[in-house]
C-alpha cells in the first residue's frame, strides 16, 4: 500500500497541472450558468449530471492511459526493477486515476451547493451524487486499468468509457451493482429525490465489482511481458 502510494504521488505530481485544471471545471460551468442571472433548475440538474459523467470519464481516460505512458517513457522499468509487485504497481495507477476525482468531486460539491442555494433548494442530492461518483470512480478506474493492460491507450480509453455506458444500459434493465449505481447518479434530483432504497448495497457491490476487475487486471498483468523495445 505504502509503495503504491509512493509511486502514485510521483505520477500525480507529474500530471498536476492537468488535474488542477479539471478540478476547476465544475466552478467554470457554474459561472457559465449564472452569467445570465438566476439559473434554471433544469439546466442546473442537467449540468450536474453531465459533470458526474465527466468525472467518471476523467477516471476512465486517466486509468486507461497511465500504463501506456509509463511504458513509453520506460519509467516503468525504473519502478518494477525494485521490490514492487505488478499488483502493487497497478494499484498505484488506480490510485493515480481515482485521487484526481476526489479533487474534482470537491469542486462539484462546492459549486453544486452554491447553485442549489441560488435555487433555494435543499442539496442532499448533491452529496448523493458526489458519493456515488467516488464509489463508481473506483469501479471505473479498475475497469480502465484492466483494459490498459490489454489494449493500446486510445482503444483502452474508448472501451473503458463504453463499459461505463454499457453499465448504464444494464442498470436500466434492472441489474444491481455498478449499473444501478450509475442510474442513481443520473436520476438523483438536487434535493435528493429518486434515490433508490438499495443504494448502500449497490455501493458495496460496485466496490466489489471494482475489486474483481482489479484482480483480473493484476492477474493478467502479472502474466504479460512489459511492452519494451528489447535489444
Amino acid at each position: 500500500m505504502m509503495k503504491a502510494w509512493l509511486i502514485a504521488q510521483r505520477l500525480l505530481w507529474q500530471n498536476r497541472w492537468l488535474f488542477l485544471m479539471l478540478m476547476f471545471w465544475p466552478y467554470v460551468m457554474a459561472i457559465v450558468l449564472c452569467v445570465g442571472g438566476s439559473p434554471d433548475p433544469d439546466d442546473v440538474l442537467w449540468m450536474l449530471h453531465q459533470e458526474c459523467f465527466a468525472g467518471l470519464a476523467l477516471v476512465a481516460v486517466t486509468g486507461s492511459t497511465l500504463l501506456g505512458n509509463e511504458h513509453r517513457s520506460r519509467r516503468i522499468i525504473m519502478v518494477l526493477a525494485r521490490s514492487v509487485s505488478r499488483p502493487q504497481y497497478l494499484f498505484s495507477l488506480l490510485l493515480t486515476a481515482w485521487l484526481p476525482l476526489v479533487l474534482y468531486v470537491s469542486g462539484f460539491l462546492v459549486s453544486g451547493i452554491v447553485l442549489a442555494k441560488m435555487l433555494h433548494s435543499s442539496f442532499e442530492g448533491i452529496f448523493v451524487m458526489a458519493l456515488a461518483q467516488l464509489v463508481l470512480g473506483v469501479w471505473a478506474g479498475a475497469v480502465s486499468v484492466f483494459w490498459s493492460v490489454l489494449l493500446p491507450q486510445i482503444l483502452a480509453s474508448i472501451v473503458s468509457v463504453a463499459c461505463v455506458g454499457l453499465a448504464v444500459y444494464i442498470g436500466e434493465l434492472g441489474m444491481i451493482g455498478p449499473g444501478r449505481m450509475l442510474l442513481v447518479l443520473f436520476e438523483t434530483a438536487i434535493s435528493g429525490g429518486n434515490v433508490g432504497a438499495a443504494i448502500g448495497v449497490d455501493a458495496v457491490l460496485t466496490l466489489l465489482a471494482g475489486g474483481v476487475w482489479f484482480a483480473a487486471a493484476s492477474w493478467t498483468f502479472s502474466r504479460r511481458d512489459l511492452n519494451l523495445t528489447a535489444d
Binding site: M2, K3, L6, I7, R10, L11, W13, Q14, S73, R74, R75, I77, M78, V79, L80, A81, R82, S83, V84, S85, R223, R224, D225, L226, L228, A230, D231
Partner: protein
Amino acid sequence: MAAPLEFQGATKHFGSQVALDHLSLAVERGEILGFLGPNGAGKTTAIHLALGFLRPTAGGGTILGRPFGDTASRARIGFLPDSPTYFAGTASGAVELAGRLNDMGNPQLRERAKSLLAQLNLSSAGKDARRFSRGMQQRLGMAQALVNDPELLILDEPTSALDPPGVLEVRELLRAARDEGKSIFFSSHQLSEVEHICDRIAFLDKGRMLRHGPLASFLEDSGRVEVVTQGLPASAEVFQPYRLYLSESTDGFLHFVVPVKLQRALIEQTWTAGGELVSVSPLRRTLEDLFVAWSGEARDGEVPDK
C-alpha cells in the same frame, strides 16, 4: 551456495523472432561478468528476463536463489537500465524513492543517498532529474542501483554516456563493490571498459552464447608472437618463407608476427644466418579483435559449441 544469477536454458521468442536461444550462464559471487554482443544480440532481453520484465518462452533461471521475477529478491538487486528515466523531482528524491521501493527507511536511507550523490558528483545537481544531461542521468541511475547496498548489480551499458572522469568514478565504484563480495552483471559495448574491470566475459550473438570464460584467457591466447630481429636485411634468403609475416622494418629492426608454431624455426634460422634476436613477445589480443572475429564467425555461421 547458488550463484547470484543463473540463466538455465533461458529462451525468448518475440513472435517468430528468436531473441534468446537457450542461454545457460551463471554469475558467481564476487565477480564482474561482462556481457557482450552486437546490437540485437539479446543482451537486454536476457537482463529483462532476469528482472521479470519479460517471461521466458522456455527455460528460466534464478536470481539470488529465487525464480526470475521474484519481487522480494529484487530488494537485494541494483539495476541500471541503458537509458534511465525519472519522475519529476530532485536527484536525492529519485535515490530515496528507489530506496523506499526496496524496503529501506530513514535515517539510513537519507544518509546513504547523500553519500552516494556526493560520490557520484551529483550533490549540487539541479532540481529536476528529468532535465539532467544524459551523463548525469546515468550517474543518478548508478546511485539508485547502489542505494540498497545490493548483493547483485545488473548494469546495462553503465558508462555509455559518461565522460572520462565519470567512467573512472564508476569503474572505481564497481571495483569497490566487487571487493565487497558483490556480483556484477555488466552489459556493454565499451570494450575497453570491459577489459579494465571484468573477470569473465560471455559473448552473445543472435540470441546464442558463442563464447564465455575468463577474460584473461581470451586475451592471452592470441596464438601469435612478435619476433624482432637485427643484423640481416629483409631481403635475406633466410626470411623468404616469412615474408608474409613481416609487419614492420625500421632502422635495421625487422618485426615478424608469426604463428607460435613458426617461432622456433624463425629464431633458429635467424641465428644460423648470423642475425641477432632482439625480442620475442607473445601477442595479446584486444577485446576489439575478439569481438570482431566472433561477430564475423556468427555471420558466417561458424558457431562453436557452447
